[in-house]
């Protein structure tokens, strides 16, 4: 379905270019829910935006992204517009700022349909039944209201229904649980389960919340400072990860005793050579310092570390 090979993304700034994504490769199969876990600034959101070519013009992108075998970066703007919304849709990070404050909800929902050749009235009807499927109370009233009149949870569901309106083959969800408390996080998990059962579209879920990834994703990749360090089934990653950083992440969870890792992730302008986790890795070897570990198959998943 989606194939990403050696993706590099750099943002030139006043004092040097920030290497947001430093050689990432992964693929998502039909109907699979693939998660990317990473902390703030690990470059996970950049990947999502790169797939839909929504990065700012200043970004320098290398590498190939194949969707259904076609390279996204060789598509012309018409093909690109065709793909966005119909085949690949985005569920943005903070629902509050992703809805146009001065436009009625009905316009914002139906315009996706209009764009892909469906008349507004019919589009609105379709949108309403998607909304009711996603447990959004009284879709009719919501459509006539303005975004600021909706609660956080309702905004999220509205966004979900917008991005699902054309039954896309791939849905990219960017940090759906950011800033939510436990209870609304359960609701989000429920929402995503409904989406998968109802539409069966494959999903790319970008989050920093391990438990959420375990509950919603089949396979999960762990990102650190712009590189993928481990890819494995969601269950194994959360319970028994193999990469030292992934282990550190799991141990830092409150329920596992809040065992902290010392130090911070390296500066992104001139990345140290060798393994990026070298300074903070407890089981580091001198080879880690010099040579960038390559992705190796290991116990059903892949890990990039010299220990294995």
């Amino acid at each position: 379905m989606l194939e990403v090979k050696d993706l590099f993304v750099e943002f030139p700034t006043r004092n040097g270019s920030v290497k947001a994504v430093d050689g990432v490769s992964f693929s998502i199969k039909e109907g699979e829910s693939f998660g990317i876990i990473g902390e703030t600034g690990s470059g996970k959101s950049v990947i999502g935006l790169a797939i839909l070519r929504l990065l700012p013009p200043t970004a320098r992108i290398r590498g190939t992204i194949l969707f259904e075998g076609r390279d996204v970066y060789t598509m012309n703007s018409r093909e690109m517009r065709e793909m966005r919304g119909r085949f690949v849709s985005l569920m943005p990070q903070n629902p509050a700022t992703s809805l146009n404050p001065v436009l009625k909800n009905s316009i914002q929902v139906s315009e996706v349909f209009e764009q892909h050749g469906i008349k507004r009235a019919e589009g609105l009807k379709k949108a309403k039944d998607i909304m009711s499927k996603l447990l959004l109370t009284d879709p009719g009233r919501v459509c006539d209201q303005y975004p600021y009149q909706l609660s956080g949870g309702m905004k999220q569901r509205l966004l979900a229904s917008i991005s699902l309106s054309m039954h896309p083959q791939l849905m990219i969800a960017d940090e759906p649980t950011k800033g939510l408390d436990n209870e609304s996080r359960e609701k989000t998990v429920e929402l995503f389960d409904k989406i998968r059962s109802e539409y069966g579209s494959s999903m790319l879920i970008i989050t920093h919340d391990l438990d959420f990834a375990r509950d919603v994703c089949d396979r999960v990749a762990v990102m650190y400072s712009g590189r993928m360090v481990e890819i494995n089934k969601a269950g194994t990653i959360v319970t028994s990860p193999s990469h030292p950083y992934a282990k550190g992440l799991v141990q830092a969870l409150p329920r596992n005793g809040l065992v902290p890792m010392d130090g911070q992730s390296p500066g992104r302008i001139n990345l140290p050579d060798g393994c990026l986790f070298y300074q903070r890795c407890k089981s580091r070897k001198d080879v880690c310092k010099k040579q960038v570990p390559v992705m190796k198959i290991f116990e059903g998943g892949r890990v990039s570390c010299h220990l294995y």
Partner: protein, 231 residues
């Protein structure tokens, strides 16, 4: 030994709606009391009332023996109702520090306010505080916009510790931080608690964090303390 902080049936109305109903709890010397509640349960309001940022509609708060709030009113004592012994850590790192002041000035400001030591001592006092919260000197000469969330919360902690408080009210100090950084900050707070005999009122919606860090947890629902458990 009487408890450090005694709160007796604290009430608070917020434009008509009653937000807190007879909230009572106390915090012993050197203890960490967790305050758990979903968003909207009024836990932040409790914190702000204890700290004196919000005035209350009834109830007493006694800190270290002397009352700071008697039946809802602030007695004349204390610098406009703010007790130096209690300090607060806020939830959002990006607004907890003055964007125009370097880390160093933020840490030293409390000392300057109470002119607790001469300028020559300032430098090494700052060094000492920075070491205590695990920050190097290079962090001190950066602006908050050049620091990560975890580093900012450490500077906030150092800033508060400089005047030796007895109770720190922390309103979801680590909810905006990543998991690994959260672990570092909470570990740091525990270490400081042992060294400086400080007690915490830790407010959070994340029950796992509270179970891990607090000695006792008070459960707050719709402005009422429903139960208090030992961890």
């Amino acid at each position: 030994m009487s408890s450090l902080l005694k709160v007796r049936n604290l009430n608070k109305e917020f434009n008509g709606a009653r937000v807190l109903h007879d909230v009572s709890f106390n915090i012993e010397q050197g203890e960490t009391l967790g305050l758990f509640g979903r968003s909207g349960s009024g836990k932040t309001t409790v914190g702000r009332c204890v700290i004196g940022l919000e005035n209350t509609d009834g109830g007493e708060i006694v800190f270290n023996g002397n009352p700071i709030i008697a039946n809802g009113k602030k007695p004349a004592s204390g610098s406009n109702g703010k007790v130096p012994g209690i300090q607060m850590i806020f939830q959002h790192p990006e607004t907890s520090l003055n964007p125009r002041m370097k880390g160093m000035d933020s840490i030293l400001e409390p000392l300057q306010i109470h002119n607790m030591c001469t300028n020559c001592q300032m430098q090494d006092k700052a060094k000492e505080l920075a070491d205590m919260v695990g920050l190097g000197m290079e962090h001190l000469c950066r602006y908050p916009s050049q620091l990560s969330g975890g580093e900012i919360q450490r500077i906030v902690l150092a800033r508060i510790l400089s005047i030796g408080p007895q109770l720190i009210v922390a309103d979801e100090p680590t909810s905006m931080l990543d998991v690994s950084v959260q672990a570092q900050v909470l570990r740091l707070m525990k270490r400081i608690q042992e060294e400086k005999e400080i007690s915490y009122l830790l407010i959070s919606h994340d029950i796992e964090v509270l179970q891990q860090v607090c000695d006792r947890i008070a459960f707050l629902e719709e402005g009422r303390i429903v139960r208090v458990e030992e961890t």
